[in-house]
Amino acid sequence: MHELALARSLIELVEEYAHENNAVRVKQVNLRLGEMSAMTRALHFCFDAVANGTVCEGAKLSIEQVPLTVFCSFCNQTKQPMGRYSFRCDDCGMPTPKVVTGKEMQLVSIELPATQPCSQYGPENEHRQTA
């Protein structure tokens, strides 16, 4: 259920930056989510509902997933854990409580639509078509 709260926080953050850039619509929202955040599907599920009536209405949600890596102090290296929730080094089997990547829940960037052409500048439309 807290994906709803996360979607709201996300959209509030997007609104802040959209407003700063005088945008009334956001075309795409780019996120980075760690494997341990386990939010990908849930966020997709409720994003549209929360986005209705905001600058994010109709925006595409693009999610870059970050794999889980841990630091093994015995191997002195960043490693993969034995399993998603089995925090032991896959090579030496020692416990690896220190998570290096995989907890991310970040808004990376937003994409705003191209600004509408202004009719007083006349011929730009033609340029656009031939470019």
């Binding site: 807290h2 709260a5 990547t101 808004l107 960037s109 937003i110």
Partner: protein, 276 residues
Amino acid sequence: MCTVCGCESEHSHHDDQFVHHHHHHGTDDHIHFGTNHAGASVAGFNDDQLISIEKNILDKNQSYADFNRSFFQENELLTVNLLSSPGAGKTSLLVKTIESLRDSLSIYVIEGDQQTDNDAKRIRSTGVQAVQINTGKGCHLDAHMVGHAMENFRFESGGLLMIENVGNLVCPASFDLGESHKVVILSVTEGEDKPIKYPDMFAASDLMVVSKTDLLPYLRFDVNQAIEYARRVNPDLGVIQLSVESGKGMDQWNQWILNGARSKTLPSVQESLTAG
């Protein structure tokens, strides 16, 4: 590698730079979402604009949590966030803890439930200040709610603030409240595989309390297996086994709190357990 955004290039991320941390199409760009339309730069037209942000989605909660944390530190309050599924015995443990420690410590309680102030009433009957937060449809407490709840206390410096979160083994794990420790309670009437079924909560906690141990003779609950599962998801997790009913193990729990409350710099759970 940059641990903030995962890119290979060398750069720093200071808070005041986040807002201006834009990466537009230059040679140093390290964010590449699609490509620009070639050569369509015409006055009156802009191409789609990419605004780089690089902020945590829970940034706002984090800033409230940071505020709470500095308030707790300034006022020398040990803050414990109690987490469990509904019915694991959070309120019973709280009441028993208050009865044991109220002569040694000033105790304050924040109760989180979707509805009713039954728990806050139960706590107030022990004579300590308690504030109830009703989350309505919400499934967890957040740092903003806790900040407002704090306005209702008459705090003296030093003491213990216990926050009883909404009974839920999933959602509260994601929300930092500014607490000193997250403590997850697993009652022996639940399955011993709860730590691997709901790993995020056990991964986020510093201490696991195995509660209702007086019922063990009547159940097929394997305590060692439960601890093994919990340490699989969190190798640093401290463990205390106790029964509020029989009182067994309560000394170790009380000692853990006293050690934490008396120490100006909070000890890790492991150090504190060894000391206790």
